[in-house]
């Protein structure tokens, strides 16, 4: 009985979305567009796409297939800040590092969303230390209203308003990542969380 009381609410995948911000078709077209830009910029070279788990997975999977130059991929995962009451170590941890060296390679970081820029700023410093030939950033979503650290973004999909968005890899409590579109989560779901 006690367990049942504490069982988390099962999300209503589509019913919890207040508004579809970017449709599946708009995402598809934009990814194709970004792929063409990357192809043009890296013609005659190969590029290593580095994706940051977990939110960037769908974008990475679609983008790599829209790029028409030789591509290698790698994945990273970094810890996220957990708040004052739970976190005492006080520093970002690399939960999953690169599988192979990027020294001398052209690297493109593939991100789902850039808001504060804190995680990406950390990653940029970390990856620069690995001596890539070049290091660029491709972000599907840019939320500049939340920016704390200015980051030069080389390829931007959509600039979005200051809303809490989920879908296409983006989560709330690890759910909603499998939505094929990007939607605004109904406010009452996280304000009462």
């Amino acid at each position: 009985m006690v367990q049942a009381q504490h069982r988390a609410r099962v999300p209503d995948l589509r019913g919890d979305i207040g508004q579809v911000l970017i449709s599946e078709e708009e995402i598809r077209n934009k990814v194709r567009e970004l792929g063409a830009q990357v192809t043009a910029d890296y013609t005659g070279r190969s590029v290593t796409l580095v994706s940051v788990l977990k939110g960037s997975l769908p974008f990475m999977a679609d983008l790599m297939r829209a790029i028409d130059v030789p591509v290698q991929i790698d994945l990273m995962e970094v810890s996220s800040y957990g708040g004052a009451t739970t976190e005492t170590s006080g520093l970002v941890r690399i939960l999953k590092d690169l599988s192979s060296s990027i020294a001398g390679r052209d690297v493109l970081i593939v991100e789902d969303i850039i808001d504060t820029g804190l995680t990406l700023n950390y990653l940029l410093r970390y990856l620069r230390g690995k001596n890539p030939a070049s290091l660029r950033i491709c972000a599907l979503l840019d939320k500049p209203a939340r920016r704390l650290v200015e980051i030069p973004i080389d390829y931007t999909g959509f600039t979005i308003p200051d809303e809490f968005v989920v879908g296409y890899g983006l989560d709330f409590g690890e759910f909603y990542r499998n939505l094929p579109f990007i939607g605004v989560l109904r406010r009452e779901l996280y304000e009462t969380a």
Partner: protein, 198 residues
């Protein structure tokens, strides 16, 4: 990073921990900008942004009071921008702070670190930060004393060390605590806000 600093508000302490976590250097209230002078030329009003981020050359002012209570701060910020157009400053409102906490899955913390409650909590947090720093120092001592067995650390730890070392070598100058004037002003604002709420 936060052991020497006494924050006037719990949300400021939390933001400092977030910046520390991601290896962003910061200074707490390092500069006061005069924004109004009397006829005798004396400064009658000034503004001390909460944080300065030297690597970004940007100031951050954090206010978690209700939107209706931040009008005075907005006015001061406008005045600052008029007088010092080269200064880059970002105002972080309560809703921005709540969104930040939501992003890190700690929306439950947002309420207790915001508004007047956050001012009360600041002392508790300052004490805890001091205790954390002391514990960390003790852990460092233990690690050093443990010798070679502790050198088989994972890559992630060496990365942290690398980044945090470069950070600490360029450790910014920080005021040990908010100035008396700043604390008085904050106290007056809290009192005024409490009267409005009441």
């Amino acid at each position: 990073m936060t052991d020497e600093t006494r924050f006037a508000h719990a949300s400021e302490a939390e933001l400092s921990r977030i910046l520390d976590y991601y290896g962003v250097r910061w200074e707490y209230e390092p500069r006061t900008f005069p924004i109004m002078w009397g006829l005798d030329g004396k400064v009658v009003e000034s503004f001390s942004p909460d944080f300065y981020l030297p690597d970004m050359d940007m100031y951050v002012e954090l206010t978690t009071l209700k939107q209706s209570l931040v009008r005075r701060k907005n006015r001061k910020l406008r005045r600052l921008r008029e007088l010092y157009p080269d200064i880059r400053i970002k105002l972080f409102y309560g809703k921005d702070f709540r969104a930040l906490m939501l992003k890190y899955g700690r929306v439950d913390l947002a309420a207790s670190l915001s508004g007047l409650e956050g001012q009360v909590a600041a002392d508790r947090i300052n004490s805890r930060l001091k205790a954390d720093a002391e514990n960390a120092a003790e852990r460092d001592d233990v690690t050093v004393a443990a010798g070679p067995e502790t050198t088989s650390v994972q890559t992630e730890t060496s990365v942290q060390t690398e980044l945090s070392t470069s950070q600490s070598t360029a450790s910014p100058r920080r005021r040990p605590r908010a100035s008396r004037g700043s604390r008085r002003r904050r106290g007056r604002r809290a009192f005024a806000a409490a009267r409005v709420v009441a």
